[in-house]
Amino acid sequence: MPLGNSGIGPGLDGSDPARQLQEYVRRGASFSGSEAHVVFNNEKGSFKNVSSITGLDSKDDGRSVCFTDWDLDGDLDIWISNRNGPQIRFFQNSNPSDGHGINIHLSGKSCNRDAIGARVILKVRDNLPQTRTVTAGSGFLAQSSKTLHFGLAKEDVIEEIKILWPNNKAQIISNIVPGNYHIEQGSDPVEFKVRSNEIEKGPNPFQETFNDRTFLSQRLPLAAFFGRPPEAKDKPLLICLTVEDCKICAVQKKEWEVSPPTGVHLQLISEPTLALSDPEKLQLIQLIYDHFFDVSEREIPTPISFLIDKKNRLCAIYRGHIDQNLLLEDCINININGSQLRSRSVPFIGIWASKQISSVRPLDFVEDLLDADLLDLAANYINKEINSLKEDELFPMLLKRLEALKSDRATP
């Protein structure tokens, strides 16, 4: 049950517990987290919880489970995807029982080539039949291998394999030993072989190193809050907040003392701790830091830096030590837009299926200020950015909300 975006409306008294629950999670709380995966062993048709001896009872927030005999040793291995890191885990089967298995890969001829929908019924001596079906998509958001696997316990001869192809034609194969097989519709099984993998691998030409900065895809006007010294008139401004007792802050400051960042005007704010002398300012920095992201109130890492362009708009957020070359590149690219900007605003390269990013409302930031009860700052912001804000059809409502909050505050 993914609670997020659940669309659950407000409850009595205008309270909205679903939203409140979401807010807790957005602020970093857990919700049924650190639960151990559960495994039930099928003992001839009845189940027993064997989680503790499977090695699978990890406390990840698991999502997809995909099965495959990855090492082709006759038993099923498991890939599990997680919400937390690492986002995928591989569990290799090391089952102590010496039972073996058979893998069967089908390919259709007069039906779909993947043989999706084909049902295979396997019979060993004096035993109940086992059935598997070729499937694409099962469990939760998962696709397992299309190669079918059967556990055979100690049996070393399979009496019969019956394949019901999707076009209802049956094929029967008799007396086959455990192993890996490929069966084309209508033909005898052949041993399944792996081939050398001919794809040109080599190292990727792109170095995919993650830099801990967000080059924003949107521009947030901040002229209402940050003064710009005259000497920074023709340059982007880099506002960097450092605190004492922070190694990286010290390293960064020292580095800049020796060689100041080029291409920007640096404004260093050094505070003893993150609890700034001006709490409202800290709140504002937290708001700016949170504005673009789905989660909020996470601790601000230090040093934290904001790159602001000549029009006083926020363009990038840097966490920790800043790579000089990256900063220089960001300054050069500070005015890019469209697909170039979209690419630069994500940490790794890739392809977009959607044509464009959905647009943002400058109004949203004022809403953030109002939510945080920073009414004076909101009023200032509106004054400063009135031209762009008033184009939004919701602007009159925003003004009404501000007035209402003001009068609320006036009445004790």
């Binding site: 049950m1 993914p2 997020g4 975006n5 669309g7 409306g9 407000p10 009595l12 517990p17 629950l21 807010e23 999670v25 970093g28 857990s30 919700f31 987290g33 039930f40 062993n41 099928n42 003992e43 189940f47 001896i53 499977t54 698991g62 999502r63 997809s64 489970v65 995909c66 099965f67 990855w70 038993d75 890939w79 599990i80 937390n84 986002q87 029982s97 259709g108 779909n112 080539r113 993947d114 929908g117 109940l128 059935t131 998509g137 099962s138 469990g139 939760f140 958001l141 299309k146 059967f150 055979l152 993998n197 792109f206 995919e208 989660v295 996470r298 392809i351 977009w352 959607s354 990013i357």
Partner: protein
């Protein structure tokens, strides 16, 4: 009856328990904001506080058992002593205990609970040993709300397991060691990226992304495609000869950046290689495998909704071309009165869509044509095709959140182009928080059976079991109880109906993929349940 009740109940189910267990002080100010919600049914809140206290006491008790220090009061108890003896000289670091109260009753100053205790450790003989048991306990509280144990019952429904080796070993590090993008990207979880990628790219705290296995490069080994939220590239990892993984070169064209809920490797054009399809808010992306070297985008099937979840493929009309079904959770349609959300029967979900493959990379949207548009308004998280009635055509089961599930019987073999929704008729509607579908013949009687993944909640079980919980609406109480019950194993009977096969496999916790597979090669398909909702950066858990 007031429609807003369900929302209060949602709060009751999760929120009351949430507030009581907080350990940090960070939340104090927020708690005060919501006191209006808490105060409406204070007895539930009190009850939850007691449950939390009793749970802590039971953890201490379990720690005593596992460390061999049986409490004096139980020294005569054969069964508890026996258990305690099993753990003697077990490795201290390997000891692990968990206690969960899932039933609580109040009679004056007496509190009675039923709890599950889970313990595991590595024994002196190096064997792995695990114990799960249930126990009843009763407690009294004095004027200062201090709890005193009155009685610890005997262990019930005990499950013991012992094995010289673990069935599986986590080999993630070995398999990914050579791949730098794993360290840079996938070693970090969603919480890390949420604070680094703008939400506007399609990433949020509640997003779910899947995974697919298939042989992209035609070497006979399954490769792995990992789906990602918006702003992070999906990753195609190629299975190497030494079983490690390396990412496919960038020129392969697999690194889509749109939020991708799920993906499938399938041979869409029936030419013998594995094409790839992706479920994204922009639609279903169709990628043709070009000579096992790269993908060519062959179009995007436009969908009506954006909150995509499951993607599944079948050939429902058996014309040799694969068809695609995409499910949606949230819908864009809004209810007339948004306070009327039915937690137990939500009908404001996105409509699922069926695309019939017509060959040559062309697809037709046939949802309505096939009769699938009826009641197609639920929050559908998972779907899977299976010929459950063995009539030669694949039927469709859909697991829905906030309501009942659906089984669409396919009668294509009999010449009908319409699906019939018959979940209630055959007893597999499974009204719960459906999140996963898996089919198998687990009892080897030749008839397909079904395992449905749902939410299991100790807090939910406790609260819905209280007499104070919705005393006036027994029918709805039943639904809410069902909601916290957990997974369901449906056994198919000879008459084509299904029966709920009982409680042995319900406790999968907050379950996602809940699937059949023969994990120990004994010929009987076992079950694995991947679970856990959100482990946030803070220690407190709702």
């Amino acid at each position: 009856m007031c429609f807003q009740l369900p929302v209060l109940l949602l709060a009751a189910l999760f929120f009351f328990s949430a507030c009581n267990k907080k350990q940090g002080t960070d939340f104090d100010s927020h708690e005060s904001k919501v006191t209006t919600v808490q105060c409406t049914t204070p007895t539930i809140k009190e009850s939850e506080q007691l449950a939390a206290q009793i749970e802590s006491e039971l953890i201490l008790f379990a720690q005593q058992i596992i460390s061999g220090a049986l409490p004096d009061s139980l020294s005569d108890n054969k069964e508890w002593s026996q258990f305690s003896n099993r753990f003697i000289n077990s490795s201290e670091q390997s000891r692990n205990v968990k206690a969960s109260v899932f039933e609580i009753r109040h009679e004056g100053n007496i509190v009675q609970t039923v709890a599950r205790i889970e313990m595991k450790a590595r024994l002196k003989n190096q064997n792995y040993f695990g114990l799960i048991t249930q126990l009843k306990s009763s407690w009294s509280k004095n004027e200062d709300e201090q709890l005193k144990v009155l009685e610890i019952g005997d262990p019930e429904q005990t499950v013991l397991n012992e094995s010289p080796v673990l069935w599986f070993s986590d080999e993630t590090d070995r398999l990914t060691a050579k791949e730098p993008t794993f360290t840079e990207h996938l070693s970090r979880g969603l919480d890390f990226w949420l604070k680094r990628i703008e939400s506007i790219h399609g990433i949020d705290a509640f997003i779910n992304n899947g995974m697919a296995l298939g042989d992209f490069d035609g070497d006979g080994r399954d490769d792995i495609y990992v789906c990602q939220p918006g702003g992070l590239p999906n990753r195609l990892f190629l299975h190497q000869a030494d079983n490690t993984i390396l990412e496919a070169p960038k020129k392969t064209g697999a690194n889509y950046l749109d939020h991708t809920s799920s993906a499938l490797f399938i041979d869409i054009d029936n030419d013998g290689d594995q094409d790839l399809t992706l479920a994204t808010p922009a639609g279903i992306v169709l990628l043709e495998n070009d000579e096992h070297q790269s993908f060519i985008e062959r179009g995007i099937l436009q969908t009506d909704e954006v909150d995509c979840h499951s993607l599944s493929a079948t050939d429902f009309d058996m014309d040799g071309n694969l068809d695609l079904l995409i499910t949606f959770a949230l819908g864009s349609r809004s209810l007339d009165d948004d306070s009327s959300f039915r937690f137990d029967d939500a009908r404001d979900g996105g409509s699922n869509q069926l695309f019939r493959g017509d060959g040559e990379w062309s697809f037709s949207e046939v949802t309505a044509l096939c009769g699938l548009s009826e009641a197609n308004d639920r929050h559908s998280l998972a779907a899977s095709w299976h010929d459950y009635d063995l009539d030669g055509d694949p039927d469709l089961y859909i697991a829905n959140d906030y309501g009942q599930n659906q089984l669409y019987r396919n009668d294509a073999r009999d010449g009908s182009r319409f699906f019939s929704e018959i979940a209630n008729e055959i007893g597999i509607e499974d009204r719960g928080a459906g999140m996963s579908v898996s089919w198998a013949d687990y009892n080897r009687d030749g008839l397909p059976d079904l395992y449905v993944g749902n939410m299991y909640s100790n807090a939910g079980k406790r609260i819905t079991g209280l007499s104070e919980f919705m005393p006036k609406n027994k029918e709805l109480t039943k639904h809410y109880r069902r909601f916290a019950k957990g997974n369901t194993l449906f056994k198919q009977e000879k008459n084509g109906g299904f029966i709920d096969s009982g409680s042995a496999t319900t406790m999968g916790r907050w379950a996602w993929s809940s699937v059949f597979a023969d994990l120990n090669n004994d010929g009987w398909e076992d079950l694995i349940v991947a679970n856990g909702y959100i482990s946030g950066p803070r220690p407190d858990d709702l």
